[in-house]
Symmetry: C2
DNA sequence: GTCTATAGGCGGATAGAC
DNA sequence: GTCTATCCGCCTATAGAC
């Protein structure tokens, strides 16, 4: 029942390689090498490559949703909440920079995997009413004339879009500009503040 | 010198499949089937898969830059220009919906391809001074207090981020919501207006 | 549980006939 | 220019010894 060391190593290796290079570009041989075991063992524990991938993908999606829930539940004014959402989401991706493109890719190229997202969204957000409470506090702010008329959906998509793309572009940008790490860090901090500015100002009534 | 029909069919098939499924997920056999010829012919005309891919990628990048240049050069007030840029860029991607993810992917997973972008940006934008003139008209607007302090770089990245992600998310969103095409179209028109609102309001001083 | 060995399939690329 | 046939390598997956 308790997982052996190899079993865990394989899962972690798979997480690393799948998120960095995607499903197609990762072979079970690569995973075995990264996990320092034989390729046969990968199949012994996880049977098929697809099955191993789904475990990884599900883990990533769940942890992503969990981390997004916190700032949504924060107890503070609406404007502060927005800033909190943006910044904590930004920091989250910052710890896991390959995640946005990885998720976009797998959802676009393998439509059957969208079912996973459906289930997770339903379980973690709608059922627990986190989203609903954020939605109603947004409506309240709109009704009071504090912010312009906007749906929670559009607002969240704005935030996700700006944050996710920033991390997709960052390595490309740094590479084109001159390829050092400080260039990329400067870019990221500049973008983080710009996103907060754009959203908070863009919400004004 | 003038390309034969097969040569052209192969290129078009490659364009379609590479942009839709990416480099790794597209085989030369797939391309041959789509072009209605044998797989040997693909290699006869383009020698290697990598070589064929580079031709496709370069074509896409060039046409993208060309189409972006027009609204940048438009002769009108600053606020109208912003709206024009967003809307024409939105319509452009709308005609070629797989393009954003395709380009992000290939630039992230194959860093050597960033050299292409460097050269293109230099040739098409910096050398022809389109970008410089947009940059100076932006500074002018900032100096006059019409808009807040923002760099052209940040503004263009905001626009590209919001537009590109919209089209990446659209099929996923529609699929989760109920999977019909009208849901997706509604989503897109809603997003287009939201992006214009967010950017123009978010620029205010 | 872990290994070696190998089956079986698909990929890119080329040779050679027409 | 276009085809068929084929080489060779890598991939996933499994069989079977220990």
């Amino acid at each position: 029942m308790t997982p052996t060391e190899n079993e865990l190593n394989i899962l972690q290796a798979a997480e690393k390689l799948f998120t960095e290079h995607g499903y197609n570009a990762t072979s079970t041989t690569d995973i075995a090498r990264e996990a320092k075991c034989t390729q046969a063992l990968v199949h012994y524990y996880y049977r098929t490559k697809e099955n191993l991938f789904q475990k990884v993908f599900l883990n990533k999606l769940k942890s992503l949703v969990e981390l997004i829930k916190k700032p949504l539940e924060a107890d503070c004014g609406f404007e502060q909440k927005i800033r909190l959402i943006i910044e904590s989401y930004f920091d989250l991706i910052s710890q896991n920079r390959a995640l946005p493109l990885f998720i976009f890719n797998e959802l676009v190229s393998h439509p059957e995997r969208r079912e996973m997202i459906k289930a997770i969204i339903h379980d973690a957000i709608i059922h627990e009413e986190v989203f609903a409470s954020f939605d109603s506090s947004l409506h309240e702010a709109v009704r009071q004339g504090k912010i312009r008329d906007i749906t929670a959906e559009n607002l969240l998509i704005d935030i996700v879009s700006l944050n996710a793309t920033t991390f997709i572009i960052a390595p490309i940008y740094a590479n084109i500009k001159g390829n050092d790490d400080t260039a990329q860090d400067d870019f990221l901090t500049s973008r983080k503040e710009e996103i907060v500015q754009l959203i908070t100002r863009g919400l004004k009534a």
